[in-house]
């Protein structure tokens, strides 16, 4: 942990993750867990890629069901709130099912429109973040 001069004329506080040297890690390094030079919106309990329809992934059990964010990823681009438009309806292709220790992404379905006939997200990937907020 460093408290004081952080280089470049900036003063503040910086904490590295276990196993990382707080003095050696560059600005923005993933080895830094806290840096007062940038604003913080929350702790990420788990993150990565998850396959839609591929079953749940586990993360350390929490005392509540946390907030998660998913974004469709096609291998190159990310899509946030990418609504599917067909049959005079619009919908988000997939939803995340959360428990206090797992996340699962499944295709959105409903009784009126066979949504996967228009866009089938099963097998595609989603970037997910689980925040320490419930």
């Amino acid at each position: 942990m460093v408290s004081g001069a952080l280089g470049g004329g900036a003063y503040g506080m910086r904490v590295s993750r276990p196993g990382y040297d707080v003095l050696a890690e560059p600005f923005g390094s993933a080895g830094i867990s806290f840096d007062t030079r940038v604003s913080v919106i929350g702790t990420v309990v788990a993150a990565g890629l998850i396959q839609c329809g591929g079953g749940p992934l586990s993360f350390p059990a929490m005392n509540y069901v946390p907030i998660a964010k998913i974004l469709r990823w096609d291998g190159t681009y990310l899509y946030d709130h990418h609504a599917i438009y067909a049959a005079f309806h619009r919908w988000l292709p997939a939803i995340a099912l959360m428990t206090n220790s797992s996340i699962e992404v499944v295709a959105f379905t409903n009784p009126w429109v066979v949504t996967t006939n228009y866009f089938n997200p099963n097998g595609t990937y989603f970037l997910y973040y689980v925040f320490a907020v419930g």
Partner: protein, 148 residues
């Protein structure tokens, strides 16, 4: 009163932990910390709002339209970036709309090589077809230093 802060060794790792009010820092579960140096914090490093395409009266052919936003040098070289974006439209009378809910267009985005790429794709031909009615297709975005 519960212990709230811990510095030093916790289990097999060294670091700094501060629990949320009401939780004992020595025993609380993941997600009950205010500070947990064994996890990574999601930090905002760049944010902005950009016009991607202006949809006027004339027909816009179906296709993808994009703008590139150069990232500041301090963050351009970072590789562990993640971003979120909100796609919205602004009519020339000032009204704002959440674009995914009203249009046949969608937003895609990525960061690579110090550049933020923002694209709007028209599934079908666009254009308001009405004189003096235009829509700005815009994205408000934040780039995070994530652990992806």
């Amino acid at each position: 009163m519960a212990w709230r802060a811990q510095f030093g060794k916790r289990g097999a790792v060294y670091g700094c932990w501060v629990s949320k009010p009401g939780f004992d820092v020595l025993t609380c579960a993941p997600g009950d910390f205010l500070v947990d140096t064994a996890s990574q914090v999601f930090q905002s490093i760049f944010r902005g709002d950009s016009l991607i395409v202006n949809e006027g009266q004339a027909t816009i052919p179906a296709g993808t339209y994009g703008v590139n936003v150069g990232l500041p040098a301090t963050v351009a070289g970072l590789s562990n970036l993640m971003m979120m974006a909100t796609y919205y439209m602004v009519q020339n009378n000032g009204a704002q709309f959440s674009a995914p809910n009203i249009s046949q267009t969608y937003l895609s985005f990525r960061t690579a090589g110090g550049v933020l790429f923002l694209n709007v794709t028209f599934r079908a031909n666009g254009g308001t077809g009405t004189a003096n009615v235009t829509f700005e297709h815009r994205a408000a975005y934040t780039i995070f230093r994530g652990q992806f």
